[in-house]
């Protein structure tokens, strides 16, 4: 508690904070000076010097640095109070589980089931009452939800940082595209095939890398993603960077949905006449896939396997000591995560009907990762929210699109610093056996003493 001093006056805090914020502003302006003020014209070997961007930069940095310092201080203060709480030993607090936040309050409402059905009804009605543009965005958003939930199994639940996730998505998409292009196989045949191929590739990558953990795993998966893209770019079969076009959309029992059914829908449900009914059909396919994914992931999380994953995320050695087959847990996490990427890939190929390797760059992996990070690693509602925010929001805010990648980068840093659990933190209640006698010591052993600050990298 010695950190909180009583004798510091508010005014002195104000001045010292102001001074640091001004210094930070000055420093940032100095840093940004050459890159932001000089614009070059390389062909004529001339440059233009202009200071017009600097005031914005300075103002922005000033505000941000004050906020930054405030939140850092707050975080440090919360850390202290938490440590005090733990050393005081308050068993009742822990058995109750984590403190309720606004999210858990909303999620724990009594009419949760009703809310769920309302949401489902809304998503079902949505395509019939909205424009083709909205349906397009929603299909993309739902594809990202599937991808996010799939990656969540790997990164969020199992703690294996997979930076090449987009490769499995590409494998799913190319499986459908190639089989359709060369053999004319339909969407429904290719959907399980795409998932299977992606799963097999996941296993193929998984077998050699299961010995690795942490950052090495991240790098290997990243390389795998890049290799996949480069190979797709160089092969003759995949037609290289030209990609594959005219991929058939999913068919509904071979009925042309844009003929009779469309007229029916326009007449009786008031559907937008410019709508491509195939898109609505794709929307329902991906919606069904998302629901299936949610059910699967939800069931998995509380299964024996899911618990093994969580244990593996927390401590690999301890989980092995508890008799969990680490190899199997890792491989299944990898393979299952890839399965969803494959499914999403097939739907994606049928949705946009043209794919090329450029759609599957490292950027895509980062986007999906930021969905998981933003939403909350390991939390299903969080990932859904994250996917919708990241895929649909930039479409709505056009001005935002230019800066969106910049903001994603900043967001990932900020989330890690201030809210590593994401928007909707996954909550798991700690169950503690009440024992007679040495309960205090047991509790300490379970919750762990506050970690030393520097030892985190060991």
């Amino acid at each position: 508690m010695s950190v909180i001093r009583q004798d510091v006056s508010l005014a002195s805090i104000f001045w010292s904070e102001l001074k640091s914020a001004l210094l930070a502003t000055l420093w940032m302006c100095l840093l940004a000076f050459p890159l932001m003020t000089l614009t070059i014209n390389p062909t004529e070997k001339t440059f233009i010097f202009s200071l017009e961007r600097m005031p914005y930069l300075a103002g922005g940095t000033f505000v941000l640095s004050i906020l930054w310092r405030f939140f850092l201080k707050r975080r440090a203060f919360q850390g202290i109070t938490k440590a005090v709480h733990q050393s005081g030993g308050l068993p009742e607090d822990l058995t109750k589980g984590p403190k309720p936040t606004w999210v858990t309050v909303v999620m724990g409402l009594r009419h949760k089931r009703l809310g769920f059905f309302l949401l489902l009804a809304f998503t079902i009605v949505l395509p019939f009452v909205s424009s083709p543009y909205t349906v397009n965005i929603m299909v993309t958003a739902l594809i990202y939800v599937t991808l996010g939930l799939g990656l969540n199994v790997v990164v969020g639940v199992s703690g294996l940082l997979n930076l090449g996730y987009i490769a499995f998505y590409a494998i799913g998409a190319y499986t459908y595209a190639l089989l359709n292009h060369y053999f004319g196989l339909s969407f429904w045949v290719c959907l399980p095939l795409g998932a299977l191929t992606a799963t097999l590739m996941g296993l193929l990558l998984g077998f050699p890398v299961i010995r690795l953990s942490g950052d090495y795993l991240a790098i290997v998966t990243l390389s795998f993603g890049e290799i996949t893209r480069l190979v797709l770019n160089n092969l003759e079969v995949t037609r290289g960077p030209r990609g594959i076009s005219y991929i058939k959309p999913a068919s509904f029992f071979g009925i042309d949905l844009n003929a009779a059914p469309k007229e029916f829908l326009i007449k009786w449900l008031g559907v937008d006449p410019s709508m491509d009914i195939n898109k609505i059909f794709t929307y329902f396919i991906i919606l069904a896939l998302v629901i299936l994914t949610i059910v699967c992931v939800f069931r998995l999380e509380n299964s024996r396997l899911g618990r093994a994953w969580l244990a593996m995320r927390e401590d690999e050695i301890a989980c092995q000591a508890m008799g969990i087959n680490r190899t199997r847990a890792k491989l299944t996490a990898f393979a299952l995560g890839s399965t969803w990427a494959g499914l999403a890939g097939v739907v994606f190929a049928s949705h946009i009907t043209f794919i090329n390797p450029a759609s599957f760059s490292f950027l895509g992996s980062i986007l999906i990762l930021s969905i998981v990070v933003l939403g909350g690693m390991g939390s299903i509602p969080g990932v859904i929210l994250g996917a919708i925010v990241i895929s649909a929001l930039p479409e709505q805010l056009r001005f935002f699109s230019q800066y969106r990648m910049l903001l994603f980068g900043a967001l990932m840093v900020l989330m890690m610093v201030f809210r590593p659990g994401g928007l909707i933190q996954s909550t798991r209640v700690v169950h503690i056996h009440k024992t007679k006698g040495n309960g205090q010591a047991r509790l300490k052993a379970l919750t762990g003493a506050p970690k030393p600050k520097t030892g985190g990298y060991s």
């Binding site: 840093l31 070059i40 991240a218 050695i317 910049l406 990932m412 840093v413 520097t454 985190g456």
Partner: protein
């Protein structure tokens, strides 16, 4: 035979530049066990700063060796500042958190810097001026080595010697070795950990910026995305040599440079990057500790 020599020389220069970047990775990893994904971006920023500096300085009438050296110094200073700031913002607040957090934060930082340069400057390839002065005394070996390669080898060798001397003989170098060995113990002996980590980032960034200037001179074009691939390659080199080991990084970088150069020359240039990535995967699977590294036993 001349074709082989050509490939050999281009592999050597390529490897030297990788080595400059790889040193930053390996030093940072040696000290705080973090893959600094933003390191490639620092290298890119170094190249862009060098370009801007050369534009301004040559408009002032500078040329020749003076121009090259001052451009390199300016780029190094700026990159050092960026490296320091990146560490302050993205890594220092995360010390003591889970292992995944700094990694994700590093990816975010790298993404941020890339897009910052893209928005502030351009998303196109930019022509980099020819900064290397004419060297008439190279006439006799002109068929084997051109002036750019001479400069690259010279700069790389000099900076590596300087780095080795710094690590071996200065007080800060000793502190770095101490922190790399045991952070807690170093702190208990009175080493200022924060300062050591900051200096490591600054030194790594300076070397990366030199690499950026040299790659600009040799490729004659730069763009905002160049840091990603170069960073990946340099990281491969660092892992190949044994991450955390300084001579290892140099050896790994040279091996990678040769492998890429020969793969491009004898197989196909479009599979050059694939070769690099496959080497990385194979190394990580069969010898994760690298060539010079020592296998570490895990303590529970």
């Amino acid at each position: 035979m001349t074709y082989f020599l050509d490939l050999f020389m281009s592999g050597l220069t390529r490897g030297s530049i990788y080595a400059l970047i790889a040193l930053g990775y390996t030093m940072v990893y040696g000290i705080i066990a973090l893959i600094n994904f933003a390191h490639g971006e620092i290298y890119m920023i170094g190249a862009f700063t060098a370009l801007l500096a050369s534009m301004v300085l040559s408009a002032q009438g500078m040329s020749g060796w003076g121009l090259l050296l001052s451009v390199a110094v300016i780029a190094a200073i700026y990159a050092g500042m960026y490296g320091w700031t990146v560490e302050r913002i993205a890594y220092r607040p995360l010390r003591g958190s889970s292992r995944l957090a700094p990694l994700i934060s590093a990816i975010g930082m790298s993404f941020f810097l890339q897009n910052y340069v893209q928005l502030a400057q351009t998303s196109n390839f930019v022509l980099f001026p020819d900064l290397i002065p004419q060297m008439p005394f190279l006439k006799p070996i002109a068929g084997y080595l051109n002036r750019t390669q001479v400069i690259i080898l010279l700069f790389t060798t000099l900076s590596m010697v300087a780095l080795t001397l710094f690590i071996k003989f200065t007080k800060m170098g000793m502190a770095m070795r101490a922190v790399a060995q045991d952070m807690t113990m170093a702190r208990l002996s009175g080493v200022n950990i924060d300062r050591v980590i900051s200096s490591t980032f600054i030194i790594g960034s300076v070397l990366a910026a030199l690499g950026g200037v040299l790659i600009g001179c040799s490729m004659r074009q730069i763009y905002f995305y160049m840091g990603f691939l170069a960073g990946m390659k340099a990281f491969t080199a660092a892992v190949l040599g044994g991450i955390g080991s300084i001579p290892g990084a140099v050896i790994g970088a040279l091996i990678l440079g040769f492998a890429e150069s020969f793969a491009a020359g004898y197989i196909s240039s479009s599979y050059r990057d694939v070769v690099a990535f496959i080497i990385l995967i194979i190394i990580l699977i069969f010898r994760p500790e690298g060539i010079m590294g020592q296998a570490q036993t895990q303590k529970v």
